[in-house]
Structures are given as C-alpha cells and as structure tokens.
Amino acid sequence: MTSASLSVTANSTANATRRGNALGRRLLIVAAWLVFALFLLLPLLIVVSEALKQGFGTFFTAIFEPDALAALKLTLLAVGISVPLNLVFGVAAAWCVSKYEFRGKSLLVTLIDLPFSVSPVIAGLIYVLLFGAQGYFGEWLSDRDIQIIFAVPGIVLATLFVTVPFVARELIPLMQEQGSTEEEAARLLGASGWQMFWHITLPNIKWGLIYGVVLCTARAMGEFGAVSVVSGHIRGLTNTLPLHVEILYNEYNHVAAFSVASLLLALALVILLLKQWSESRIARLKTGAQP
C-alpha cells in the first residue's frame, strides 16, 4: 500500500465529488493553521525575538562565550558517543526481532521501548543509585578513583539511556515489512553473513537508519532531566547546552539564555530538515519498489 500515490489519486476524484464540502474543508484548514501557529510557531518566534532583543552583538557574545562553547563541545561529545552505540544496538535489536520468531519477543520489544516512558529524572536517579558515592558501586569506584557521575561518563550514560529505543524503533517495522527473501536469496547464492548484511540489508534499511539516527541525535542533544541529575553543574566542565541555558536563565541573563536556546533551536531545525529529507527518500524507495 503506498500512501502517497493513493492520496494523490483520491484527491483528484474527491475534488469533483466533494465540492459541497468545500466550506468545511476550508474551515478545517484554517483551524489547522491556527493550531499550528499558536502551538508551534509562537514558541519558536519568542525564542528568536527574546534572543535578538539587544541586537546581534549580545547574541553572538553569548554564543561564543567560553562556557557556552565548552557546553557545546560536551553536548556534541555526548551525541557523538551515544548515537553510534545506539545505532549498532538498534540494528542488532531490529535484526533479531524482525528476522526470527522466538518466545518472549513482545516482552523484548517492550523492554526496548521502556526508556521512552521512563521519566528522565528516574533515568538520572538510577545511575546515582549505582555509581554515586553512597551508591551500590560507590565505594569500589572511589577506591579506584574512577568517577562516573558528575563527570563525562555519567552524562554519556544518562544520554545513552534515554536514546536507547530510537534507532531500533524505526528499523523494526521497516525490516518486518521488507521481510527476509532477499537475504535468503543472497545466502543461497553463497554470500557470507557479513556480505549479505553490507550488500543487501544495509542498502535496504539505509534511510530508515538515517531517520532513526536523526531522531536519536535530536533527543541526545536536548536531554535535560536525566543529565541534570548526574551533571554536578560545573561551569565549563559538566554543563551541556540545555543545562547552560538553564544556568544563564537563572543568572538574570535572559538574553544570553535565549541566544543559546536559539542556537539549539537552529540545530533542531537542521535536524527537522534532515528528517524530512530521509523521510522523502523512504517514501520514494517504497513507491519505487512497487510501482
């Protein structure tokens, strides 16, 4: 079933038969625009307008301030570690879920999804319970002078936790839909497991993979609650960009807070563009597959 082509053909017949509903149609479109403007556009505009309240000078000073750059670096580091790890996990998880039948599969899928609905605060709390000085491994770590929470590893762990499901969740339905016939053919023709994966599976799931990575990146970049619990809030060292926004906001630095916020907003918009692009590739792939 290809949704795009279907709705296009449906659309042309509808225009003829449904003229009587034109008024209702127009009303609904206007309502959608209103909802969109009120709920999505307005918050976006206020970030930008607050950021530029005192002109571009203060805007750029806030963004290129050393602590902001350190926060940006830390955010990119957390993204750079957690996204590839969750990418590999997502492929492995989607592989075993979509290619085989086994008992307890739906429990496994639920477990993969679990971090989605665990409150970020709990995600931070559990690592404090494990690795905090009063935690289960606290003494052991302290004796070996290893620091996990209130340092980079803790921030990476918390980010990893909240972004576990993203790639797997995108890939599982895609790979289930595609089935395994192509892989089976490749195997019968003598391809090794890895050859089959690189030449058959990967090209097939490429765009879904990118889509998952994009969503994963967005969440990793923006995580606040979980990271806030394990960060320690040391300026220039363990503050990520979202935490830096909070600090600036609490320093009477309204304009600077919104400047850094608009940097994050710009990153979010780039992510949306990438997402849109990978989505359109998926759609094209699907329509190309069964014309």
Binding site: L77, G80, I81, P84, L85, L87, V128, F131, G132, A133, Q134, G135, G138, S142, D145, Q147, I149, F150, A151, V152, P153, V156, G232, H233, I234, R235, G236, L237, I247, Y249, N250, E251, Y252, H254
Partner: protein
Amino acid sequence: MSIRRFALAALASALIAGPALAADTLLNVSYDPTRELYVEFNDAFNKHWQAQGHEPIKIQQSHGGSGKQARAVIDGLRADVVTLALAGDIDELHRLGKLIPEDWQTRLPDASTPYTSTIVFLVRKGNPKGIKDWDDLIKTGVEVITPNPKTSGGARWNFLAAWAYAQQKYGTEEQAQEFVGTLYKNVPVLDTGARGSTVTFVNNGIGDVLLAWENEAFLALKEQGGEDFEIIAPSLSILAEPPVAVVDKNVERKGTRALAEAYLNYLYSEEGQRIAAKNFYRPRNEAVAAEFKDQFPALKLVTIDGDFGGWKAAQPKFFNDGGVFDQIYQAE
C-alpha cells in the same frame, strides 16, 4: 567504516576529558546567589596565588540550591571546598558522607562564616501595596515570592525570619505557625532555589514582594538599574550565616589541601572581605565593615544559634518530613 572510527575518536576524547579534575584545578560548590561574588573573588585569588609564586590555577564553580549542592557532594561531586547557604547543609557532609569531621565549623574564624547577610523585602517601585513589615505580607491580595525551604537554603532563612517576627509579636508557637501558614498561602510560586525566585519576581513579573537574601536584593537592583524595585528592611530579621568548609576527603584524594585552605583563608583577607562587601555581603572584618557601613541598613537581627538552638534543632523541627513546613501545606 567511518562511523566506527568516529566513535573510537569520541570515546578516546571522552577518556581524556574524563579525569579533568587534576591538581591545578579547584572546584568550589556553592549555592545559588553567590555566582557573581565568586566570579570576582576567583580572579582576585588567582592573582594572589600567583603572586606567591604558584602556577595559575583553574577555579571551577557549581551553583544550585544549597541542599541540592550538598547532596551532590555527598553523592560524589568532587568539591574541594563547599560554600553553602547554611551550616545545616554542611553538617550533612559529615553525617551522611563522612567527608569532613564533625567539628568542621571550628576550623575557621567566625564559625567558618567569612561573610553574613540577612533577609530583606524587594518590592516594586513606589511600593504600591505599601509593604513595610512582616505584618503586611499576610494581608489578602499580597503575593509573596519565596523559594521552597525543602530545597533552598535562603528559603529556610526566610521562613525562620518570619517565624521569629511572629513569635516575638504574638508570643506562642501556635500563633507563629498560624502567621507563617497565612504567609505561605500568599505565595503563588515556590521555586527550588533563591535564584529561581528572583527570576520569577524580576523577569516574569510575578508577585508584590520578594523575600530575598540582602545581597540578592541589592544585586537585582544593580542588574535592573534600580528603576523598577525598592528594598524594604523589616523591623526584625535574621542574621543569615552562610559558612564555608574544605572537603577533607576530596582534597586529600586530589592533593589540593594547601590550595583549598589558602582559598578559604583568602575570603577572610581584607581584599576578600572587600570583594564580599562589593557584592553586598556583610563583611566580618570591622575595618571593611566600617568602609561599607552606609550600604547596609542597620537591622534588629535574631540568630540561628541564639534563638533557634542551631540548625541541628531547627532543621528537623521545621523542615524535615512531617515538620512545621509540611504541616502548613497539608493543613489545607
């Protein structure tokens, strides 16, 4: 595969960035309103330290609600020194974390409190609601902004100052509790930290009066150009004593004891006291205090040790689970 190489590179840099707290850095874990004070003090101390023939050091700051910060240190945040809002929070470093000895407060002059402050009212320009004293805060229609005493040290000082006033005026504890209960009914937003409350009052325009650290109130005036707000000194307030301490277990691990002690001692130096006064903290040093005496209104002040039996008695009575503060909120 380039993704794998990228991951390796990222991992490697994480390992390098991980143990960044080396011997030439000092981490000062502090409470909310001291950000500006320590930015200035750190620069001055660094110059002083280098003038004594040492290498320049990197001083890191972390700020948040006082209770939250103490908890982070107990959970393993490697603070060399803590500069918190009240002694009760530093006591927890001994009780729960075994990070410092029990007698920590005797190790530095003035009960380890290099500067003090008090609680004042910040009102909107022209004082439209005519707020002069604590009595005016319980009138209907007056919105009071103060943070949550459970998480904020400043809020605990606010609470106790109101309590002390009511007890002196009405005589009994029941009446004091009723007074404070009525006051908190007038609070529309209870932020987690003192700074959050200031932002709520100043930037978001909520409320008629902010109960604030004196230094925080002055800072708000300075940042906002003094055009929109006025400071009102009540007839009675509390001597707020934010103490400091070296975290023994951490400085021994990191080998930074000499540096950490020099850092805290410098707070007591004339230069350190002057920086504190410039940032609107009341200095202990009498010469510096005389220099800045026009800046601070003379107030009748109660003290935590003299009037409340110290934090060891006040904390469980008022702020722990089931204490007076909980009773006030659950009475409704």
